[in-house]
Every structure is written in structure tokens, then in C-alpha cells.
């Protein structure tokens, strides 16, 4: 599904990712762990196509398509979603409008009929329950006046509505208290199936207690220095990152 080969990338000519290779198959949840500045978020931004990041060499393919050639919207339409580390406030654009415009863009891209307002509201009410969000958020501007936890739940709400094949969860656990973390993790867990894959980027193993990863990778200074299963995350929790540093 997602295949990254010897990826070198960075910002402003500065190399941050120094040769990443990673394959994510359908149904798998991969955790990328690393300290601040290790390149975790750079990896997420390169996959989703943020302008300011440049790819120096290597390749990223998704279902055998060269992802790096696609615009951010076309990456999204081909099935990739990112839950943002810092969800953006968009003044004057209400949450319902964004969700419906995004869903319709996807339906249209897949050659399907756009969803009407009544069906959309039925759908969105179901999804709201899954992340324990009040309907009042729908009429607010996107992320405007949302607390940290509400913003993250809103990201998961969008994921559940758009039903992507590959979801990148960029520090989705940061800024969440334990209750909110459980809600978010449960939302993700219920969404998992044999077709959907996940890339969970995190600093701590806390999140991984609630969503069991199939693979854990440790990123240090732009390289994956070790890969393993959940026990690797436990080991990191115990020993920190320094035992892996050369």
C-alpha cells in the first residue's frame, strides 16, 4: 500500500530525513516513535504533501502511484488522511461545511453522487457519537474556540467521516487527558479493519497501550534505527531513547 524507499527530505535545504525506508501493508498499524526533532512530523508532512518540505531523493509510492507527483488534495482523494498535530483554525468556515465539502470532493472523485444535506446530517450525527462530541461543534468555525482535546477529536471525526485507507496520526495523543485519549483511541480502534492502515506518530508509548501497533519503528536523527513489535515501545518507555543512539 504505502512504500517509502530511501527517502531523503527536509526544509530550506536542510536534510531532516536521511534515508527512510518503510512499507505499510493493508490492515497494519505502524507506530513511529522518536524524540522532538527526530523527523517524525517531517515524514508525515512529506507523505501528505506540505509545500514547504522538499524531497531530495528516494521515493514514496501509494498503491503503486508516485505520491510525490500528486497535489495534497489528490493525495487525500487517493485515500490518505492526516490527523494534524496542530489542527488549524479557519475563521468563518463552519465545521459542517468543511466536512461536507470534503466528503463530496471524495464522492465526486470516486464517480459517486454528492450526499444531500439530510443524509449528511444523519451520517455526521452517528460519527459525532463515536468521538463523544456535541452537535454544537458543527456550527462553529473549524477548530475556532476548540480546546486541545476537542481539536483532536474533531480530527478523528473527520477521519471517521472520510473513511481513508491510510490514516496518519501525527501526535494525536499530545495535549489529551486520559479520558480524551481513550475516546480517540477507541474511535481509531473501531475504525480498524483489514483494508485500513495507520501510521501513528508519537513521542510516548502511552497511546500505543490503547491502540495496539503491529510494528514499532524508532526514528533518531532522520533514520529508522530499530524496528520491532510493541515490546520495543515498552523498552523505550523503560530505558528512554539514549540506549539506541550511537
Amino acid at each position: 500500500m504505502l512504500k517509502i524507499e530511501n527517502l531523503h527530505a527536509g526544509v530550506d535545504g536542510k536534510e531532516i530525513l536521511k534515508g527512510i525506508s518503510l512499507t505499510v501493508n493493508p490492515g497494519e498499524l505502524h507506530a513511529i516513535m522518536g524524540r522532538n526533532g527526530s523527523g517524525k512530523s517531517t515524514l508525515a508532512n512529506v507523505i501528505t504533501g506540505r509545500d514547504s518540505y522538499e524531497v531530495m531523493s528516494g521515493s514514496v509510492t501509494y498503491n503503486e502511484v508516485d505520491l510525490l507527483e500528486l497535489s495534497p488534495e489528490n493525495r487525500a482523494l487517493s485515500g490518505i488522511f492526516m490527523s494534524f498535530q496542530y489542527p488549524v483554525v479557519i475563521p468563518g468556515v463552519n465545521t459542517t461545511y468543511l466536512l461536507r465539502a470534503a466528503l463530496n470532493a471524495k464522492l465526486k472523485n470516486n464517480g459517486l453522487k454528492e450526499i444531500n444535506a439530510a443524509d449528511f446530517m444523519r451520517l455526521i450525527r452517528e460519527k459525532l457519537k463515536l468521538v463523544n462530541m456535541d452537535e454544537k461543534y458543527l456550527s462553529r468555525a473549524v477548530n475556532d474556540g476548540f480546546s486541545g482535546g476537542e481539536k483532536k477529536r474533531n480530527e478523528i471525526l473527520q477521519m471517521l467521516t472520510l473513511e481513508p485507507e491510510l490514516s496518519i496520526l501525527d501526535e494525536t495523543d499530545s495535549g489529551l487527558d486520559i479520558d480524551a485519549l481513550k475516546i480517540v483511541a477507541e474511535g481509531v480502534n473501531n475504525f480498524r479493519n483489514s483494508d485500513r492502515s495507520f501510521l501513528a506518530i508519537t513521542h510516548y508509548q502511552r497511546l500505543l497501550e490503547y491502540m495496539k501497533p503491529d510494528h514499532v519503528h524508532v526514528l533518531i536523527d532522520g533514520k529508522i534505527v530499530k524496528s520491532g513489535d510493541i515490546t520495543l515501545a515498552h523498552e523505550l518507555e523503560e530505558k528512554g531513547y539514549s540506549w539506541l543512539e550511537s
Binding site: 501528505t48 495534497p72 488534495e73 487525500a76 468563518g92 465539502a101 470532493a105 468555525a141
Partner: protein, 424 residues
Amino acid sequence: MTQFKQQFDALLDYWPDENTALRKVRMNAFNHFNKLGFPTKKWEEWQFTDFSEIRKSEYRLSWSEDLPELPDNIPGRISNTHFIFMINGHYQPQLSDLPKGVTVSTGLNHFHGHPDDYKINGSENPFLALNTSMMNSGVPIIVENNAVIEKPIQVIYLMTDFLEPLMNHPRFIFELGGNAQASIIEHYIGISSISHYVNSVSKIKVDQNAQLSHIRILETDDSANYTASTQYVLGQDAQLNTTSLSSGGRLFRHDIKLVFDGLGAKATLNGLSLTEKAQHHDQHVIVDHGNDACQSHQLFKYILADKASGVFNGKVVVREHTKQTDADQSNKNLLLSPTALMNANPQLEIYAEDVKCAHGSTTGQIDPEALFYLRSRGISKKKAIELIIGGFAKDIITPIQNDDVRYYINNKVTNWLEGVMHHG
């Protein structure tokens, strides 16, 4: 300048039997205008706007022979509104639809009743003097005491269908008597590839405990020049809500002045300016708090595309010994191109202690983070930009209470946006 002198003389010739007192007012005003001249870059309050095209122009006044055939469908009509119509400056009373409690008087009548309203008092605004000297259109609209007018009154001032550059100097009076409630739409529309110039003055009085919603709309083609003065006087406990939408024109200069003439009055002044190509909009706002317990809230937004330029100069004055003033002023500008330019200068002049005041101004481009966020949801770049700009305009549009008016203005903004996105 000689063109304006010629036109002034022509006006005097055209109405040889005009009331002598009014004639004297015109002559004094024209002398005053001559003394001041057109603003230059050296005038502090006018420095960012170039008036030379108006100064050098060949505009002539619109006479009765400039009344064209009336259009079958009057552009800009908003549903469910009362109506007053002027075309090329010529009032069409047969098309008026006015409710009980509202009178349209004549300029001369109003002048006789309120000669002081026509004094220039040494004003340094040459366009006010120019308007006073050549006032040739516009109407006084008077809402009786206690009248509650449910539907908005739409006043359309249409410039269209003329063969040489025309100018007009409309004088509008909107007066709401005590406890009256009304909504007035002052709507300027210019549809012509031939240049025209409209220099309007609107004097608006909201008496004790009255409530006025004043919507001002300007929509015109690129070749037109518009200068305007709007002066509000609010009585005790009066309430004023204004929304101004200005789009197009080669040049638009608008001087807004609000005076609190009684205690406890409240005013909200909102404005949205839309400019593209080489258009230039310059708005100056003065809110003068000379009475206790008055509130004023200003929000002026500009969206500038291409090589457009904008000026916002807002001043809140809180006079000595006044109490419990609550005033804020916000100016936000969105530049859609690297060649668009904005000059913003919000000012507070506070001479009292018991005040709550805030002001601020920001100018920025489309937030790249917001743009990426929307695109990462599968929304095209073009659509995402439209959403962000539409969102920016929203807090001007949403507070408009009347559904038909809000719908009309929202449509205008959407259409403008689509136009800009299409050629941009």
C-alpha cells in the same frame, strides 16, 4: 478645475430662479471648494489617494436630457423592500413604494427647515464643499416619530446608459424621529464603460431611542470614481447598525463621521471593501464620543486582489469628562496578491479616564496552514482559497439581520470572489 467652474456656472444658469438663500449657500461652498482645491499628497488625511483623474476630468453634470429609458428590470433590486429610485440622478417618484410613516420631501423643503445642516463650517473636506455647491440629486427621507417600518427601504442610485462622462452630487438626508425603527439601504450602482463620478453626501439623524439599520452598497465598473461623506448624529439611547459593502470603481473615497449627541447611544459600524485590478478604496472613519455611556464598535475589512490598493484610517475620539465610553475598532485586511497594497492607520484619542477602548489592525495573506489543512481534506486549492476568503468576509455578512439583504450581499461577495478566482 476649470471644468468644475464651467459646470458650476452651467448649474447656476440652468436654475436661474433658484431660491436666493440656497444660491448663496452654493456660491459660498464653491468658493470654499476653490480655496481648498483637490487634495494632494501633502494633505495628511488624503495622502494615499490620487485625485488627479477627477481633477483633470471632463465630467459634466447630468441634466434632464440625460434621463435614459427606464430599464425593464432595475438592477440590484432586493426582494421585500420599499423602494426609491434615481437614475443618472433623476428621481422617479412614479416608481416609489413607501409605507405609512415615511415621507420623501424635496431638497429645497429640507433646506428651508434646516438651513444649518447645509453649513460647511470650515470643513477641510473639499468634496463636502463641492457637493454643497453642486447638489443636484438625492432626497430627504423622513421617518415619523414612533413609526416602526418593518420592511427595509431600498434607495437605488443608478448610473447607466449615458454617452459622455457624467457627474452627480447627490445629497441624502435620512432622519428617524424619536422611537422610530427603520432600515435604509443606500445603494449605488454604476453600469457603464464610460466613466462617471458620483460625489455624495448623506446626513443621517437618529433621534432619541430610535433604531436605524443603514446598509450602504456600492457596486460599480472600473472606470467610475466615487467620493462620499456619511455623517451620523445619534440622539439619546439611539441605536445604529451599519453595514457597508463597497466593490469596484477606479477610486472610492469615503469619509464617515459619527457624533453622539445624547447619552447611552450605541453604534456598530461594519464595512467590507472588495477591490481588484487597479482599484483603490480609501475609507476614513471618525467616531466622536462626546457624551456619556455611549458604545461604538467598528469592524472594517478589505479584500484586495491583483494590484488593488486600500486605505483605512479610523479614529475614535473620547472627549474630556465623558464617562463609561465603550469603544472598539478593528481593521482586518486580506491581500490576495503580492502586488496588492494596504495602508492602515487605526487611532485612538482619549481625553477621559472612564473608558473601555480597544483597537487593532492586521494585514495578511491567505494562511498557508489553513490552505494546506483544507487541501489535505481533498478540497481543491481553488475551492479552499474561496472558502478561506468567504470565511474572512463572514463576520461582516452574518450580523445583517434582514434575510433578503443578507442574501443579496452574500451573493455579491460570492460572485465577486468567483470572478477574482476565475481570472486570477
